[in-house]
Amino acid sequence: MSAEPKHGGVNGQAPFRVLPKISDDDRPFWTGGERGQLLLPRCKNCNRWHSPPAPLCPHCLSKALAFVPLSGRGKVYSFTINVQAWNPTFEHPYVIAVIELEEQSDLRLVSNIYGCSPESVEIGMPVSVFFEAFEDVWLPLFRPLVEEGGSDE
């Protein structure tokens, strides 16, 4: 698991990442990556997703929620290339993006995009999730989407 070098660090070292404080409400979101799953709560009453995870559906206030895997695909809603070395364990520059997940237009995450040059990132670019573990947290990171099966739609 940890044999794979982590993205975003300097000299092959993992970057030092400030980690989220996991709560009972959002544990599946931060740990689903261990099974390769991007999980967010979906409401059984109104069928809508929400983020961040909360004990009630913010759309219809139902408690009938279940964490359901998402496709992990989305698009870059916006981004910035961070140049300033706030944290020298990160390789600079790096891309911080607001990702809009394909299941629902208001379902957004902040993440990084690896696997391409920062300068090639643009708004609307399709991306897909992958995960890296830091302590007990599986952070969802993104890379440019590679279309499978030759579909070039």
Binding site: L19, Q84, W86, F134
Partner: protein
């Protein structure tokens, strides 16, 4: 229109401490310097102050950010308070101002002292900092709330959060870096006439375009400068106006609304911010219109925030700010909307919205010295905050 609560309340006193870079003076000393000067400016004694408010109150977080808490200030001046508040939540840096207006209108207090103190320049020494770093080793606490959703991905700084708004805006509307630069260049031209401003040397478009990037599309000159200093106001019941020695500046309206999601990345439209909600709220509470404003002091912790406030407050149409600020003529001191006339935070120093409100009061009083707007301004707006934080106040000379 029946009289709004705001219109029963005035700014009776306003003052600042010494302002500068790395003054290496204590935050309480600076605070008391500003507070006592504001009380004196109001023609009051400390025995008459019965309310106290601040933002954000004593808290952890970046060094030099919070200033002293209200209990410390109360005790230092032995104030007898009927009403007091401080906290980091609410309508951005102006929450204590807006709350003080309500407290005075409600009769909880008659004269409220409101202050904001920063000593970030002395605390940081090595330039701008992000949140929760301090060496990048172990021992950094885990983050909850929205910071826990942003910091793991290296979004350490508000510059990152503002940058992705600006990027989206530039994608949807026309705003060039040359246009955006006008916010910084205008601030510097005004700062040159303000002895309290931190950066007063001439700044050119070439300087701006060659400044190093911080977080695209924002460069160093899109970011304000950490400062040391305290700003204080006395906010009083309007019936005190007849006893005031200073020109009477009345509150016309406040805006504190937050209707969309309280987030740096979840708002439906990231080309806007909570400012849009607060601005709509403000204009719903007055018969005045944007074209009635004679001078505007709009938050410029990052240059794009000023662009965002210009549109939120209706000084130009949505998407039209780039054209509005192009060339800088409209926002100059002799333009249709004199903007950030004291140098703002970009050149004047990050007094966290309170410096902008102080400048608004000076301009309405006609006390802005060399940088006084010549058109005898009678209505001023001051707005503070970015992202999910927004508060605005409209002031009018009686």
């Amino acid at each position: 229109m029946s009289e709004r609560a705001e219109q029963t309340v005035v700014v009776s006193g306003a003052a600042q401490s010494q302002i500068g870079r790395r003054l290496m003076r204590g935050e309480l000393e600076l605070t008391l310097e500003a507070c006592l000067a504001a009380i004196d400016d109001a023609g009051l004694s400390r025995d008459e102050i019965d309310g106290l408010a601040s933002y954000p109150g004593k808290m952890g977080g970046p060094a030099g950010f919070s200033g002293p808490g209200t209990p410390t200030v109360q005790d230092s001046l032995r104030l007898q308070l009927n009403w007091h508040r401080a906290g980091p939540e609410g309508a951005a840096q102006y929450a204590p101002i807006i709350d003080a207006v309500a407290a005075v209108a409600a009769g909880y207090a008659r004269h409220v002292l409101v202050y904001r103190t920063v000593t970030e320049a002395s605390a940081q020494k090595g330039g701008r900092s992000g949140i929760g770093l301090d060496g990048g080793g172990g021992g950094v606490p885990r983050m909850d709330g929205e910071l826990g959703q942003m910091l793991p991905f290296g979004a350490f700084s508000a510059s990152n959060w503002v940058a992705w708004h600006c990027q989206r805006y530039m994608h949807e509307y026309r705003l060039s870096r040359e246009q955006l630069a006008q916010i910084s260049l205008n601030a510097r031209r005004n700062a040159a006439l303000n002895d309290q401003a931190i950066y007063r040397d001439a700044l050119t478009l070439e300087d701006y375009l060659s400044a190093r990037m911080i977080s695209t599309p924002l460069c160093l000159l899109d970011c304000d400068v950490p400062a040391d200093g305290a700003t204080a106001f006395v906010i009083s019941a309007a019936d005190y106006a007849s006893e005031m020695k200073q020109p009477v500046i009345r509150f016309e309206a406040v805006g504190s609304a937050l209707h969309d999601r309280p987030s740096w990345f979840q708002r439906g439209d990231l080309t806007s911010m909570a400012a849009t909600d607060a601005a709509r709220h403000l204009w719903s509470r007055t018969s005045l219109k944007p074209q009635d404003v004679d001078v505007a002091q709009l938050y410029d912790g990052f240059s794009w925030l000023t662009v965002m406030w210009l549109e939120a407050l209706g000084f130009c149409e949505k998407g039209g700010a780039g054209a509005f600020i192009e060339g800088g003529e409209k926002i100059a001191r002799d333009g249709v909307l004199p903007l950030n006339t004291g140098g703002g935070q970009l050149s004047g120093g990050r007094l966290h919205g309170f410096g902008l409100l102080y400048e608004a009061v000076l301009q309405l009083r006609g006390q802005a010295g060399k940088r006084q707007v010549g058109s005898d301004p009678r209505v001023a707006i001051a707005a503070a905050g970015g992202g999910p934080l927004a508060g605005a106040v409209l002031l009018a000379r009686q």
